[in-house]
Amino acid sequence: MSEKIFYATAGMGRKLEGKALVAKDGFSARYDLDRVRGVFSRPEHKLAGENYNGRILVLDAAKGGVATAWMLYEMSARNIIPAALVLNAVNPIMVQGAALANVTLVSGFNVDITLSIPNGANVEIDPSAERPYIRVL
């Protein structure tokens, strides 16, 4: 199983399992999402049209502006929100938003995580482990 575990440099939030939604593309709640419908709405995004509610998003890098820091909290209050965020590279906004909204977040891998987790795979994330990880079940 060890080849299916990918260790992150940092993590926050709670341990959970879920179904991964994976793409080699960036992430910004403002730029990419129709937050009312719970789908990726930016036409150029590789997940355009996909429903993200309850999914574990595995994406490349945090993109765009500062709005995600408030938006994750608002999305959480309406229960239309990804279960967790898994990113090759965060920006501070993703961390700040996850901290306010108590969203599980792990980031920083020694492989390209978007090429390592199959889309649709069931995965486990433990951000509070001594070495935070994502594991394919």
Partner: protein, 415 residues
């Protein structure tokens, strides 16, 4: 993180529950991002529009307004990014009463903390430009990148909760661009063609942003044949931050930390090098035009317009008549000057609208599109073109002059 006595006392709740929350939030963020300690900041700038706060965010703010004033008052000058509306123009752009109600509640909450409602993303042009070496906690990516790069001050992207925290504690976790070693270039971009128009500067920012890739990258630009002005830096930086999530750039021989390229290049390793040509810049612009040959409205926003940009717009519009909506968005600091100098009157005489204190994409853009049947827009802001697709619009990136031509031609874009 290492805390001093004051920080320990705030974390223990001795400054009240709101400051305790703020300190706890900052420690969570700081630990994640590797901060060893805090750094005092001179000013905070909060992204505070209700389109992003939502009802839940406003209620979150309101829960703290019942505290005694001394427990909720910010400790340093704390200002705000654009709001979700211009109350005077809300009916004209078909915003709904519930949006205005939510905005009023958010304003009341922020004012109860002692926040100055400046409602601007060009505070570096209008309020108080930061000084080289100062540490700040700024929201709005365009503000941060200008602060870091053009002013030589130091800030990370501080989202609303973190900027408010900084206002309440007077400090921020010391990671990222507060640190000397993080401010060195990680890639060099040799620019083979110096942009002319603001939309060209924005497109260059978009191209470099895509090359950079993520927040931790610091592009060094070389080869520019003149010093860009403040509005050109503004459009370049805003687009670079938007397309690449980049917070700091250097321009060799131009920006304050890069008197020479060697000043910001790491001594112990080489950085990747890219060339950017006029063709690369035109290709980014053309990509949008491939999908749009006519538009429903023209928007000048993101960032808010300076007085000089408004004057340029008025010059283009004199003696003309727009046949589709033309919105020009500026700050509450610039608008009175534009009114006093007759600039607003000239733009509005041609059929345009000058709005203040908001920003187009932060102002319920999706709902405005549905209410006004807006589907395609022209703008000279590369940042806006990068954002607005997610709200259901098809954008075209044109020069200010070409945007005016489109507005006066009923939306048709001259090819």
């Amino acid at each position: 993180m290492k805390l001093n006595a004051e920080e320990e006392s705030l974390l223990a709740g001795e400054g009240g529950p709101l400051r305790k929350w703020a300190m706890d939030h900052q420690i969570k963020v700081g630990r994640y991002l590797g901060a060893k300690d805090f750094v005092p900041v001179v000013q905070a700038h909060i992204m505070a529009d209700t389109e992003s706060l939502g009802k839940a965010g406003v209620e979150w703010l309101e829960q703290w307004t019942k505290l005694p004033f001394e427990q909720r008052k910010v400790k340093i000058p704390t200002i705000t990014d654009p709001r979700g509306t211009d109350f005077a123009a809300a009916e004209r752009i078909k915003q709904q009463p519930w949006m205005l109600d939510l905005e009023r509640r958010a304003i009341d909450a922020f004012e109860s903390f002692g926040v100055l409602m400046t409602n601007t993303c060009i505070n570096y042009q209008t309020i108080m430009p930061p000084v080289k070496g100062e540490h700040a906690a700024y929201g709005d990516t365009g503000v941060v990148i200008y602060t870091n790069s053009v002013c030589g001050a130091r800030s990370n992207f501080e989202g609303g909760p973190s900027a408010l925290s900084a206002g309440l504690t007077g400090r921020t976790p010391c990671y990222g661009f507060h640190l000397d070693e993080m401010r060195l270039a990680t890639l060099q971009v040799n620019v083979k063609w110096t942009p002319r128009e603001l939309n060209d500067w924005g497109a260059l920012g978009g191209v470099v942003g895509r090359l950079a890739g993520d927040y931790w990258q610091v592009p060094l630009l070389a080869g520019l044949d003149r010093i860009p002005g403040s509005d050109e830096m503004k459009h370049f930086g805003a687009a670079l931050a938007s397309f690449g999530s980049v917070a700091l750039f250097h321009m060799a021989g131009i920006t304050p930390e890069a008197e020479k390229a060697e000043d910001v290049l790491p001594k112990s390793k080489t950085v990747r090098v890219h060339n950017v040509t006029e063709g690369d810049i035109r290709a980014l612009q053309k990509k949008y035009l491939n999908e749009v040959d006519s538009v429903d409205l023209v928007v000048f926003s993101a960032p808010q317009l300076s007085l000089v940009e408004l004057q340029q717009l008025a010059d283009f519009l004199d003696g003309r008549k727009t046949k589709i909506p033309l919105l020009a968005v500026t700050s509450p600091q610039v608008k009175p000057d534009a009114d006093r100098m007759g600039i607003t009157r000239r733009i509005e005489a041609a059929g345009g609208s000058v709005l203040e204190g908001m920003c187009f994409y932060q102002s319920y853009a999706r709902e405005m599109a549905e209410a006004n049947n807006w589907k395609r827009l022209a703008t000279n802001s590369a940042k806006l073109t990068n954002i607005i697709g997610g709200y259901g619009y098809k954008p075209a990136l044109l020069s200010m002059e070409a945007c005016v031509e489109a507005a006066c031609a009923g939306g048709r874009i001259a090819q």
